[in-house]
């Protein structure tokens, strides 16, 4: 039986792991290769590396980092952050990434999703959406949560899936950094109405939150960063907890 996935997310800047709390206040949390390999040994099901470097050297540095990760990490990993062209994706996949995630660039040019899916297959195209609940609905935000749009998260997710996105990585900005749990309503809405896997992100604070997002919201995977980096929750204990709660997980 297909299991629910636990995915640690490593934010990368200049080759180092960082974590932004509510996308601000960045703190250093270690070397990405070592941390990634440690999570793999502990039973993480996948990893996400999100590059937030903004320099011109970015692309080359990222491709080199991806190669080093692929050499040392024996589980699948996704790379995201500033990816905006077929060529970017080609370089990262050739370097050893299993999947890539697109966010702002895909929203601004939705045909990019079609092109990427046609060129590389839907299975390696993850659409990342940052969303915030306001005025009665969930809206898409761009540029790492700084720019508001008037498009609803569900509508954009549905369109992207029709264009060929193979997974949705949904981050609730309301929940991110709060440690009060995942956004169950919008996660559930996407998971139950789209025929691709939904990765829930933002808000994980304790183990019960993972039970909720897999059980109530029917997420296919749950992503978290700081609670893993600062060892507030360790993956083996989380897997055991989920198993005892009847969630199907891999040991």
């Amino acid at each position: 039986m297909l299991t629910k996935r636990i995915i640690p997310c490593l934010d990368i800047k200049d080759g180092r792991t960082v974590k932004g709390v509510n996308f601000e206040n960045i703190r250093d949390a270690g070397d990405p290769i070592e941390l990634g390999a440690l999570y793999a040994r502990q039973g993480a099901d996948e990893l996400v590396f999100l590059d937030i470097t903004a320099t011109n050297e970015r692309r080359k540095t990222l491709a080199e980092l991806v190669t080093r990760i692929a050499r040392h990490v024996n589980i699948p990993f996704t790379v995201g952050g500033g990816i905006s062209s077929v060529e970017d994706v080609n370089v990262l996949l050739q370097s050893g990434a299993d999947k890539i995630s697109v966010n702002t660039s895909a929203f601004k040019e939705p045909a990019l999703v079609d092109r990427l899916a046609r060129e590389f297959g839907s299975q390696c195209i993850v659409l990342a959406i940052d969303t915030r609940f306001e005025d009665g609905d969930w809206y898409v935000y761009l540029n790492g949560g700084r720019v508001k749009t008037d498009v609803k998260a569900f509508d954009w997710a549905k369109e992207a899936v029709n264009r060929g996105a193979g997974e949705i990585l949904l981050t609730s900005m309301n929940n991110d950094g709060t440690k009060k749990g995942f956004a169950l309503d919008i996660t559930g809405q996407l998971s139950q109405n789209l025929n691709v896997p939904v990765i829930a992100s933002g808000g994980a604070g304790n183990m019960e939150h993972f039970v909720d997002v897999f059980g109530n919201a029917q997420a296919d995977a749950a992503l978290a960063a700081s609670i893993f980096h600062y060892k507030e929750i360790e993956i083996p204990a989380l897997k055991t907890f989920l198993y005892n709660k009847g969630v199907n997980v891999r040991f």
């Binding site: 297909l2 299991t3 099901d45 050499r71 699948p76 299993d98 299975q123 390696c124 025929n195 896997p197």
Partner: protein, 197 residues
């Protein structure tokens, strides 16, 4: 010992090469007929679409080379599907080592079954030397929309609404639907077992 990885227009070759490297083995990526035929072990990987991959292989006569190999061959994911008889993916005739057909997952109710299947699933009914020291119900990483049906050559079974072939074996041909190169220690064990044949 020389291990080659067949080079063609399908992804994930780098990941397979790195997985071999982690086991201390150098995998040569090549599409040269002589080099492939002379190798001790041949890995036929792949992530991609069946008809374009088959067309590429046929244009280079690699389909005949692969089908005629006598040394141990390991097909992975699309590589396994291309070793079957026929794939529903764009109605493609494949190499035909394994006498089974490849079909697309069908959701019994709309949106019940997410396609592709992405993630870790367990393998059961293991009976092949490549599964030595791999426990029954071990979890492997799968990414696919099409599956090989059950048949006489099935040596491992996985369930995703229906039971299908997680692995096939016939004579010197071994094939797995999942990605052993991405399936942590249990996956590495399978690759190691293959290399030790």
């Amino acid at each position: 010992m020389k291990t080659v990885i067949i080079k063609y227009n399908a992804g994930n070759i780098r990941s397979v090469q790195f997985a071999l490297e982690r086991l201390g083995v150098n995998g040569t990526v090549t599409d040269d007929h002589e080099e492939i035929m002379a190798a001790d072990k041949v890995i036929f990987p792949g992530v991609g679409e069946a008809s374009t991959a088959m067309q590429y292989l046929k244009e280079r006569k690699l389909d005949k080379v692969i089908g005629g190999l006598k040394q141990p061959v390991l097909g992975i994911c699309l590589g396994m599907q291309l070793l079957c008889r026929h794939s529903e993916e764009n109605n493609t005739d494949c190499i035909g080592v394994f006498d089974v057909n490849v079909k697309r997952f069908q959701s019994p109710v709309e949106n019940l079954l997410k396609i592709p299947q992405i993630g870790w699933n367990n393998i059961t009914g293991l009976h092949s030397v490549v599964f030595e020291h791999v426990p029954e119900n071990a979890y492997m990483y799968f990414v696919h929309s099409y599956y090989a049906a059950l048949g006489a050559d099935t040596v491992a079974i996985t369930n995703y609404v229906i039971n299908y072939s997680a692995a096939l074996q016939k004579n010197n041909f071994y094939a797995v639907q999942f990605h052993p190169e991405k399936s942590a220690e249990a996956g590495a064990r399978i690759i190691e077992n293959f290399l030790n044949l």
